[in-house]
Symmetry: C2
Subunit: 131 residues, 2 copies
C-alpha cells in the first residue's frame, strides 16, 4: 500500500483549517495522487498531525464524501471511491472561479509578489494542464 | 466623485462572507478601481446591500485598514489611503500562493471546468499582468 500524500495546512492563515484540509485533499484527488481504493489517515491521526480539533477533520471528510470522493460508511476509515463523470460547469460556476482567480492574483500582488512572477506562475499551471 | 465599484459576494459559498468582502475590495484596490481619496460605502449601507451583518462589514474594513489600504480613524467613512511600497514576498509566501493556486485549479476541475478552459483562463490573467 502506497503512503498517503502529505496534507499541509497553515494554521496562521485566515482561511479556516477545515477548508484548507478539504482543498488540500481535493487537490490530491483531482491530480490522482489519491486514487480509488486508497485509504485516508484516521480522523484522529490527521487531527493530531495537523494540530486541529477532531471535529474539524471529521467535517472535512464529510464534505469530501458529499462531493463524491470518499466513502465513510464502512468501518471507521475514509476510503477513496471512484467518482462518476462530472457535469460540465455552467457559466455561473465559470464566472465564480474567474472572480476568485482575479481576487487571488490581487492578493498576491498586495503581498508583494511581482506581477511578472505571478504571470510566470499562471503560465506554468496552464502548461501543466495541457499535458 | 466617481461611483464606487460594485462589490459582489456569494452567500452560498463556503468562503466566509467577511473574507469575500475583503477579497473583492482588495482586488479593486490592487487594480486601481479604488484609489487614494475614494470613500467606501458606509458599513451599514454595504451590509444592507450584501445582506450580511453590520459586524461582518466592519470587520472586513478593519482588516483592510490593517493591511494599509483604508483609513478608518476620521469620521465614520472608510477612506482609501496611499499604501507605502510593499516588501517583496519571501519564498514562504510564494510557496503559499502556489499551493492555493494549485488547490483552486483542482477545485475548478472537480466542479467540471474543462482543463483547456482553465488553462486559457490562466493564460488570459497572465497576459493582463504583463501590460
Amino acid at each position: 500500500m502506497k503512503t498517503a500524500p502529505r496534507i499541509r495546512i497553515d494554521l496562521g492563515s485566515p482561511v479556516a483549517a477545515g477548508r484548507q484540509i478539504v482543498d488540500a485533499i481535493r487537490a490530491h484527488l483531482v491530480e490522482g495522487e489519491l486514487a480509488p481504493g486508497d485509504v485516508l489517515p484516521s480522523v484522529r491521526r490527521l487531527a493530531m498531525e495537523l494540530g486541529v480539533h477532531f471535529n474539524t477533520v471529521a467535517q472535512a471528510y464529510r464534505q469530501l464524501a458529499e462531493e463524491g470522493w470518499l466513502d465513510l460508511k464502512h468501518g471507521r476509515r475514509a476510503a477513496v471511491i471512484g467518482r462518476g463523470p462530472v457535469a460540465d460547469a455552467g457559466p455561473d460556476k465559470v464566472l465564480h472561479f474567474q472572480r476568485r482567480l482575479r481576487e487571488m492574483v490581487a492578493e498576491m500582488r498586495a503581498h508583494g509578489v511581482a506581477q511578472d512572477s505571478i504571470a510566470d506562475e499562471l503560465r506554468l499551471f496552464a502548461e501543466r494542464l495541457k499535458s
